[in-house]
């Protein structure tokens, strides 16, 4: 009996001993950093990412993140307490924070610390463009901010929808204006920020004048409505038949008996030219529509309140002429073309003007002679996921698989869901039950270094098509999806107290239909269809990447 009592006692002691084993309790990153030391600030960042970063399957295959902890903890410990009045130490600590996350694959990742920003994607690109620079030199260039612009690839900043409008299609949306008496007489109601020499860069004043007094304006310009239009109270669109300015001013004369609600949605194409330079869309397209979304707000200068107009978004769709030819580039016949500055259609989709633009794009896709399509994603950094449905929901009668996604399920680094499918859903209601067969024809996407997020998901969509491809340059490799934060989505964005004000990272890890991730690597153009960005040629009006896309269509039709 004594032996049994002893056994029971030993077992009880063992149980209590084991129950007292320490169990790590995850601490909110901001709470981790409350002591005000560099060491704890780093611990907040490190544990925040350890618990919430969704790409550890790519970035921790060999214990890399623990090695980062071991490497950087003594360095931060050495810095002691955070003292922002000590600029040298603060710069050193900030660069050290950048250094600790530089190898993360996440193409969206952006950390804002002590007023400075860092993206591992920029670091990667700089290292690739300038292999002669050391890691520390690259980090210092990024810290300096302005120094990096000369060193990053030119297409990242100079090749986007706006510059393509200006250089390829000769539509100078933003132009250099000179303050003269004549100019002020015509455009004095508009706000301009003149420099000392009496010049400024601003949106084409002819376009600005068309906008309402305040709010948001969606303005369309189209070859099918070249003199502009008015809309009646019944929603009927009535086109002006000439560029007669007086007729434009008095639509009640041009359209007798019609109850006119507003000008638009189409405006005179003549607005798009400035100082004699004519737009070149008509040389390429048999039909096209340009959409501009503008914000209007009161601005004040020394002469009083003026109308301040800014371009928020632009999109263009068109279809090339009926025979192969040459405009600014060699083009293939009956090719649908689309470009937009971003994926920002969702909040505007139900506005009559935006719906009209989308229906024009739909009309081009539905053209029975359409032989293929070019989706120009240069400079497109993404936006709303639902825009995929808005723009492409008339191309598929069934949900179309474009990739797979996985999310976090817990605080362990590889606590991930299994992959689940991502689709583009058919949008019968939005498109009146009309579906295009363009997805079965050659479809190519043009990309550059600034193509990111939903711009890249568009590439995944095109690559999933039976005859889809990619031309141009390598994308940035930012395929994740973002929403919420670590408390609402169990992963993703967070901050670490008052010094690291934002760690911007996705909650969803996305890969293509072959389950391959391109995060941090980017999507590469089809072999033989890569095209470097030549800024000299581009600014002179030769868009070789657009030409390469037409070449792809020609080779694949």
């Amino acid at each position: 009996m004594k032996k049994h009592k002893l056994t029971l006692l030993i077992i009880t002691m063992l149980v209590f001993l084991l129950c007292s084993c320490s169990q790590n309790s995850p601490v909110l990153p901001s709470d981790m950093a409350m002591s005000g030391t560099w060491e704890d600030l780093f611990k907040g960042l490190w544990t925040g990412l350890s618990d919430n970063y969704v790409f550890w399957d790519l970035d921790d295959a060999n214990g890399e993140w623990d090695k980062v902890y071991e490497e950087f903890i003594p360095k931060f410990r050495e810095l002691g307490n955070i003292d922002t009045s000590d600029r040298v130490a603060t710069k050193k600590g900030t660069i050290l924070l950048f250094d600790s996350v530089k190898n993360l694959s996440d193409g969206h990742f952006k950390m804002d610390a002590f007023g400075y920003s860092f993206s591992p994607s920029e670091y990667r690109i700089l290292k690739k463009e300038h292999p002669e620079l050391s890691d520390q030199e690259v980090l210092e260039i990024i810290y300096d901010y302005y120094e990096k612009f000369d060193r990053l690839p030119a297409d990242m900043f100079y090749e986007d929808s706006k510059s393509i409008m200006e250089n390829t299609f000769s539509i100078p949306l933003t132009t250099t204006l000179v303050k003269t008496d004549d100019f002020i007489a015509k455009y004095g109601s508009l706000y301009f920020k003149w420099d000392e020499s009496g010049k400024c860069n601003a949106l084409n004043p002819k376009i600005q004048l068309r906008t309402p007094a305040y709010g948001e304006a969606i303005m369309l310009y189209s070859s099918s409505h070249k003199f502009g239009s008015v809309t009646t109270y019944d929603g009927e669109i009535l086109d002006f038949t000439s560029d007669d300015v007086e007729a434009y001013k008095h639509p009640e004369v041009s359209f007798p008996g019609k109850a006119i609600y507003s000008y638009g949605p189409y405006y005179p194409v003549s607005d798009l030219s400035w100082e004699g330079e004519e737009q070149k869309l008509d040389s390429l397209f048999s039909d096209w529509t340009l959409c501009l979304v503008l914000s209007v707000s009161p601005e004040y200068d020394q002469t009083g309140y003026k109308k301040g107009v800014n371009l928020k978004m632009l999109a263009l769709s068109g279809i090339t002429k009926e025979t192969d030819g040459r405009a600014m580039v060699d083009y293939t016949a009956n090719t649908v073309y689309f470009i937009s500055s971003g994926f920002n259609f969702l909040p505007l989709k139900d506005q009559a003007e935006m719906k009209q633009f989308l229906m024009d794009f739909h009309k081009f896709k539905m053209n029975e002679n359409a032989a293929g399509m070019i989706l120009d994603m240069r400079g497109n950094g993404g936006g709303y996921n639902a825009d995929r449905e808005i723009l492409f929901g008339d191309m598929f009668r069934e949900p179309h698989l474009i990739g797979y996604q996985k999310n976090k399920t817990g605080a362990g680094r590889l606590d991930l869901t299994q992959e689940f499918p991502l689709y583009i859903y058919p949008e019968a209601d939005f498109y009146g039950n009309e579906f295009s067969d363009i997805a079965s024809k050659p479809v190519v996407v043009i990309t550059n270094t600034a193509t990111a997020s939903n711009g890249e998901i568009t590439v995944l969509m095109v690559n999933s098509l039976p005859n889809g491809g990619q031309t141009g340059g390598v994308t940035i490799g930012a395929n994740g999806t973002l929403a919420g934060d670590i408390l609402t989505y169990n992963s993703g964005k967070f901050s670490v107290g008052k010094y690291i004000t934002s760690v911007y990272t996705p909650y969803g890890n996305i890969r293509d239909t072959n389950h391959v991730s391109y995060e941090g690597k980017g999507l590469t153009p089809d072999k033989g269809y890569e095209e470097n960005f030549n800024s000299v040629d581009f600014f002179a009006g030769t868009d070789s990447r657009l030409g390469k896309a037409f070449e792809w269509i020609k080779d694949h039709r």
Binding site: V15, K43, S50, K349, T409, L422, Y425, A483, L487
Partner: protein
């Protein structure tokens, strides 16, 4: 129901000292039962995260060797499911959303326990304690998570659904489990055959995850098993 179960268990434990088995007996048998498993972890600031217990079954080949009239060594091979459901409740100003993942985990375990048994006539009662060593053989998961491809009517794509067998990671999944084992059972002997009712509690010691050195959140699984079975006495009995 829970109170009644506790009363029955306590009664058996209190009456146990009245009985004892025969030294030298060897038993091998077959048993099956119900498993109620739970997760021990600390979710810290992730207050939306929870792990709900799961229900499963077990199938065992129990083996007992009586080294003495009252003391035995219990072992065997067990197949059991240690299931649970993890969920995350996200509360925003406009909505409350819950996502989840059901885990059906299959383990093969080798228990080893020292047992104290007391027999009176055909009835025996045992109390045992020891440990187990297990292998995480398979994990089937089914879940609902936040999607990112939503249709314009909002009816499709808001959530993503998945199901299938988990592909184990050599880096992160700890396939080997070790823990403590506590048991009590009630047996009725019919000549060489013994009918058994047994209640076991397995307390996980090892972390289900590995590969994270610092500030790693630990996850352990525990199981309460109620089983019935039949054993055959191979010899040495009185």
């Amino acid at each position: 129901m829970k109170k009644l179960t506790a009363i029955v268990i306590l009664t058996v434990l209190l009456l146990a000292p009245l009985f004892s088995r025969s030294g030298g007996d060897r038993y091998v048998g077959l048993s099956a039962g119900y498993v109620y498993s739970s997760i021990s972890t600390d979710t810290g600031y992730k207050t939306g995260q929870s792990y709900a217990p799961g229900h499963g079954f077990s199938i065992s080949i129990p083996m007992v060797f009586q080294v003495h009239d009252n003391i035995g060594i219990e072992t065997g091979i067990d197949f059991l499911q240690k299931n649970f459901k993890s969920s995350y409740t996200s509360v925003s100003l406009s909505d409350t959303i819950q996502t989840y993942e059901t885990n059906i985990n299959s383990y093969i375990e080798l228990p080893l326990a020292l047992s104290l048994s007391l027999t009176d006539g055909r009835m025996s009662a045992t109390l045992g304690a020891g440990g187990y060593f297990g292998f995480w053989a398979a994990s089937y998961r089914e879940g609902k998570t936040m999607g990112s491809s939503i249709s314009l009517d909002g009816e499709k794509g808001e959530f993503g659904y998945y199901s299938g067998y988990h592909e184990f990671s050599d880096r992160y999944d700890n396939r080997f489990a070790f823990g403590l084992l506590f048991r009590s059972s009630l047996e009725y002997r019919l000549d060489s055959v013994v009918l058994m009712l047994r209640l076991s509690y397995r307390m996980g010691i090892t972390d289900m995850r590995k590969g994270q050195k610092y500030y790693a959140p630990v996850m352990r699984n525990n199981a309460l098993i109620a089983e019935c079975g039949i054993m055959y006495n191979f010899g040495g009995g009185k």
